[in-house]
Subunit: 219 residues, 4 copies
């Protein structure tokens, strides 16, 4: 039979000897009392952009949805099996998270695919093509800008996509209501990978600013 | 405006001073050369079960999809926007991962919902209900077993669901072909949270065994 | 009568007591032997982006043209009085500079004007409007992107404009010939002002990279 | 590819470690609040006569136009792309500078060209010849003065040219009006290079006087 990957077993042994040993009580309490994360992160599947790593967070702190290119569709209560919407519904209505962060990142393969609409599909099912078509209108406009370099178009769409996901989140009636009432806050962020830079979205302008320059919360 | 969560900014500062500082070259190479993870993990959004934490893995190693209850639907090339299938297509056909691990865990809220079909939906859209209906046939049978305790039914369905996801993975033609050809391997695992136990699925029997008891690969 | 600005007289006194006193011999040699700068900089008039300051260069090192938004028109030997073209002709054919650097910068007022074509002219002569019309085709395309924020459009056009100036430089027959022969090199750079970041253009891709990450020259 | 000049990268590193490190707050404020220079300098491209160096001024203080021989054309609202006029329009009408200084200097190559009308053009486009023709009437008279030495003719034309630029500035209607109203002042200055002498023009007589001898502003 196929063996369970050795590096994962080794990694698990390291986890047990390290983090788990140190945080045993926390894990037991989290099992006993249930999870109460205050923040949901919507991130990409990319192996270089794990939210727990970038934000250095431990067990119980982040409820994390990860799909290709951290996309959020609009609210579509049509009876379909919408995995992303299910996670949002659960986080907001059951876990009562106080924050939702859409976390994008540089060199995103999904965004690259969205900017290459004429590329051959990966497979005849073309799930990536269909999934990234959620961005089609914006991807078309950005992709058509012949004066920007390929890398500039990519970064531009990565950031536009984060704003797009945040806008789509607001189409969920309970998200809109709780944001209005001040019990839920939406945030955007973009991780650079290479230099490790984190850029945080300014909610007013939609611009992304280096995390180091973000002021303390106003009281 | 709403401030970016302070604990995330602090966590990011800690990441930069710690892991990033130590692994700067690795991040730069991962940006330059692209990601080449050998393993995809399909895990749950639960805040207590982050794969990178449980397997103690660093940047570039795990391509991670996370949805509610780590479900995989069957292959449905119907033109719909299937986020989970898109991630699988990308991991297998573009990244050429060698392993896919479906990682479930104890006390899963999604599984709990699947076992409570008569509970009131979280919202009129009922995305959780629709999403967990992917498990409806098995959930119905387990849920109807009045001789098991509630906790036993929960654990049973968590494990059945992992096997179900693995079976559904095999409905993707390329997954089936690559598994047959030996270039892709599928694995199941279940994390206990409380005691930190990892249980690994035996591919032949479908049983879950403590990771510590899993033999070295047979030669 | 109007007095010569006091701060300039004070600054001059400071220059004489400082830099001039230290570099007296250099100034005398530069007067005696003439200037032999190896680099021409085409920069903006902006008070925050003086090339000698950003590159910490002394007398005799940089031949500096500064106009609004560091624009270079195409080669137009039509008998008109083209100030920018005159400076380029002098630098290349008389001074024999080896490098031309087009240096743009963030928050450029000229670029802002190019993105606000319907704004009221500053004056009925509308010299700014006419001057920035050199960028009209690209400004139109960038300005029409409704998915980018105003700041993103601004940065995008600042960088596009640098590439545009470099392309226009290549329409000067002698520039083209000397670049081809390897006796003249063209470069782009963009200065951020706020964080003091300098971004250097990669000649192959046209992308801008942080100066700190630029490799040593290949030998 | 062509590498960015090493001495500029080194100079930038020196700037960041020195001036930027000391004036970080000033740069940030200048980015945030925009530039508000009170003085525009119209200077020459010559590498030996950078205004920021001669007047020892820092970021945000001087709005600097530099062309060959610090020429100002007359006001010509003919729809042409006049770079120098655009900078003047922007400085006066948008930045509301209070002073404009035309700064000439000794051993100016452009002035030398203007005094050598029969010299072969640098290139068939002859942009320098065309540009310096702005001075043709005065250059002809000075050049024809056989009783002055070549050096005397050069210095004479350098100073005449400054007065000429100041006169041409007064053909801009808003410059004329603001000077009349006392909200804008025009000044001339000439820098010697060799001995580092700065000569300031007396507005009444047009004579140039050593800066050290210029009186304090009259009260």
């Amino acid at each position: 039979m196929q063996s369970f990957p050795r590096e994962l077993l080794d990694g698990y042994a390291s986890f047990m000897a390290g983090r788990y040993a140190r945080e045993r009580d926390r894990y037991r309490a989290l099992a006993q009392d249930g999870q109460k994360p205050s923040t949901m992160i919507i991130a990409c599947c990319d192996s270089r952009a794990a939210p727990e790593t970038i934000f250095d967070r431990g067990p119980g702190e982040l409820f994390v949805l990860r799909n290709v290119a951290n996309l959020v569709p609009t609210y579509q209560p049509d009876g379909g099996q919408h995995g992303t919407s299910a996670a949002i519904e659960f986080a907001v209505n059951s876990l009562k998270v106080e924050n939702i962060v859409v976390l994008g990142h540089g060199r995103c393969g999904g965004i690259h695919a969205a900017l290459s609409p004429s590329a051959e599909p990966l497979d005849e099912g073309d799930f990536i093509g269909k999934w990234m078509s959620l961005l089609a209108p914006v991807a078309e406009q950005v992709g058509g800008n012949s004066f920007m370099t390929a890398a500039e178009r990519q970064t531009a769409l990565e950031r536009i996509s984060i704003r797009n996901s945040l806008n789509n989140l607001m189409t969920f009636p309970y998200v809109e209501r709780m944001v209005r009432e001040g019990t839920l806050a939406l945030h955007g962020a973009w991780f650079d990978i290479s230099a490790g830079e984190l850029w945080v979205m300014d909610a007013d302008s939609g611009d992304f600013l280096r995390a180091e320059t973000v002021d303390e919360p106003e009281l």
